[in-house]
Amino acid sequence: MVGVAVAVLAALPSLVAALPASDAATSAGGLRQRALGSADVAFSGYAQAAGGLSLPVGDQLTDVADLLSDRTTMRAWYRGADDWRVDVVTPTGETDVHADAGGSWTWDYVHATATRTPPAPLALPTASDLLPSALGRRLLSEAHDDELSRLGAERVAGRDALGLRVVPAEEASSVARVDVWVDADSGVPLRVQVVADGAAGPALDTGFLSLELGTPAASVTAFAVPPGADVREGQDAQLLQAASRAGREGRSRLPAALAGLDRRSIDGAPRSVGVYGRGITLLAVSPLPGQVAGPLLDALVVAPGAVVDDLGVRIASGPLGLMLVDGPDGPVLLAGTVSLDALAAAATELTGGDS
C-alpha cells in the first residue's frame, strides 16, 4: 500500500505535465501582433531563466556574465510599460528593479544599496530584460512575417500557450531560431527559448512558472528608499560617457553598414557607439577605455575557443559573439548575436582593411 502511494505521488508531476494543451488557428503574423499588443496587459508572475553561456569577460561585466550563465529566479509585478517591478530572488537576498516613468530604482538587499538609474538610450542587459514577457516582445518586435512560423501549443505556467518560431533571415546571424510561447488568452509571451546555430539545446531558456492576470497593487511596484540604505547612481550613464570619451579622440566615423547589417539610429546615444542589425540579429560597436580593454583582452585571449589573429581576438559563446579589435583610434569592442565570420568581416571593414 505504501509502495502504491509513493508510486502515485511520484507519477503526479509527469501526469500534470502531460495534460494536453489546446491549439488555436491563429496565424503566425497574427500571433506576433497579439504578443506585441500585450504590453498593456497587467500581471503578476514567477519566472525562471536558465542561461548556458559562459562569457570570459573578466571582472568588468560579471553581472551580465552571471545573468547569461546562471539560473535566475524572478518575481514580477507589471502594471504597465513604465510601472513595474522585477525581483531577482536568491536564497539569501534579492535584487529588485522598480521602474517608474522617470527611470528605475534598483534595491540590493545584500549590499543595502538603492541605485537610481535614469532612462538611457542604451543599457547593459539586466535580469528584468530576461523576463519572458519583455524578452519575447523585444525579440518579436522587428521580425518579418516571412521569418515566422507556427509551432503547436504547449502548457506553460498551467496556461495554454501558442508557439511561434522566428528564424532570422540575416546571413550574419548566429541565432538558429527563437521559439516564443504566447499565452492564448492574453497574448503575453510566457516562454522564450533562444537556440544558437549548430546547438542542440537552447542557449537561453526563460519562462513563467506561474502567471496571474490582473493589475497588482500600486504599493507593490512603488519604491521608497529604506532608512540606512546607501543611495547611488546608475553605472550605465558612466559607461556611456566613458565610451563617448574614448571615442572622442578618434576622428573616424562609424560606417553606415557593417557585415551587411545597417546601422540603427538611437536618439541620445554617443556618436562613437553604434548598433547594427535588426530584430534578433544585432551587433554593437563601442570604443573601450584602455583600463577596461586591457583586462578584457587578457581574459579573452586565454579563454578556450578564442580566435586570435591580426584583426584582434574573437570568441563565441552560444549565439553571442564578442570581439576586441585594435582599431586605428584605440581598442573597439564588437558584441552581438552574429557569427564569428561576421565579426571578422565587421572588424575588417572597421579597420579599413580590404581583405
Binding site: 500500500m1 505504501v2 502511494a5 518575481r75 536564497p91 539569501t92 537576498g93 534595491w107 538587499y109 532608512p227
Partner: protein, 269 residues
C-alpha cells in the same frame, strides 16, 4: 501513552543537554560579533547575520540559520533515532509492547513526542536568540527592513519570526521521520541517527549539483532555507508551501513504512 513518552523524553538529562549544546553556538557567535563588531560581509555567512549588528531583533532568525544546516538536524536525528531502537537496545521494548496499548499507538506516541521535542528545541533556540540579540546588539524600536527593502513594524517582524519558527520546525519533521523509520529497522540508535544524517548530507550535496536538477525539488533539504521568503514583501509563499507539502509527504510515506515494518517485526529484545 503520549503523556508517558513526553514525560520520559523531557525527564532525560540528555534531552536538555542536547538543547543546551544547540544554543551554545549561536550564543558564541553573538558574543564574538558583539565583542569584535565584525559582521560577515553581506551575502556571506548565515542569512540575516550581517543585519543583526544594526537590529538585534533579527537575531532569532540568525540563530535558526546558524543551527539549521547541521546542528538542528543532528539533534533531531539523535532523539528520533533513539526512540524505538533505544528501547530495543536497552531491552525495554518488549515490556513496552507487553502493555495492551499496541504497536501503532506506541509508534504514534513516539512520533508525537519527537514533534514536541522539535517544536520545543526550535522555540528555545529562537527565544535564546531573542534574549541574546536584545542584550548584545542595538534594537530598533520602529521595526526593520524587509529583504525587499520595505519597512516592517515590530509586530510584523514578530509574527513573521513566529511563522519562520514554525516553518523550521516543519522542515525538521522529514529528518525526524527518516530517523524514526530507521529506528524501527535496527536495534542500534546510533545506526538510525547516522542513517538519517547520511540522507541529509546526500540531499544537501545533490541539491548543489546541476546534473541532479531533475529531482532536486523532491530532495528533503530543498526548501529548508525558504523561511527567508517570509521576510520578502509581498511574502513569497511558493517555496514555503512546497516545503511544507514535501515534508508532509516524507512524513506520511516514512511513517507508513515505519508502521508497516514495526507492526510486523519480531521483537527479540
Amino acid at each position: 501513552m503520549i503523556a508517558v513518552e513526553l514525560r520520559k523524553l523531557f525527564r532525560r538529562p540528555r534531552t536538555w543537554v542536547t538543547i543546551a549544546l544547540l544554543n551554545a553556538l549561536p550564543v558564541l557567535v553573538a558574543v564574538l560579533l558583539a565583542l569584535t563588531d565584525l559582521a560577515p560581509r553581506p551575502g556571506e555567512g548565515p542569512v540575516f547575520l550581517s543585519a543583526v549588528l544594526t537590529n538585534g531583533t533579527l537575531y532569532p532568525l540568525a540563530a535558526l540559520a546558524i543551527v539549521l544546516p547541521l546542528f538542528l538536524p543532528i539533534a533531531v536525528a539523535l532523539i528520533a533515532g533513539d526512540s524505538v531502537a533505544g528501547e530495543a537496545q536497552g531491552g525495554t521494548l518488549r515490556y513496552l509492547l507487553a502493555r495492551p496499548a499496541g504497536r501503532t499507538r506506541l509508534l504514534v506516541a513516539k512520533l508525537v513526542s519527537i514533534m514536541v521535542f522539535v517544536l520545543v528545541t526550535v522555540f528555545v533556540v529562537a527565544v535564546v536568540g531573542y534574549l541574546v540579540g536584545r542584550l548584545l546588539f542595538d534594537v530598533q524600536p520602529l521595526g526593520g527592513t524587509s529583504v525587499s527593502g520595505t519597512a516592517l513594524s515590530s509586530t510584523e517582524i514578530a509574527w513573521r519570526t513566529l511563522m519562520a519558527i514554525g516553518y523550521v520546525a516543519v522542515s525538521m519533521l522529514g529528518v525526524a521521520a527518516f530517523a524514526l523509520f530507521f529506528s524501527t529497522l535496527t536495534d542500534s540508535p546510533l545506526a538510525a541517527m547516522l542513517g538519517a544524517l547520511g540522507i541529509l548530507v546526500a540531499s544537501s550535496l545533490l541539491f548543489t549539483l546541476d546534473a541532479a536538477s531533475s529531482f532536486a525539488p523532491y530532495l528533503p533539504t530543498r526548501y529548508w532555507l525558504a523561511f527567508v521568503d517570509l521576510f520578502r514583501e509581498p511574502i513569497l509563499w511558493r517555496d514555503v508551501v512546497r516545503g511544507c507539502a514535501l515534508q508532509g509527504v516524507y512524513v506520511v510515506v516514512l511513517l507508513g513504512a515505519a508502521w508497516a515494518n514495526f507492526t510486523t517485526k519480531d521483537i527479540s529484545s
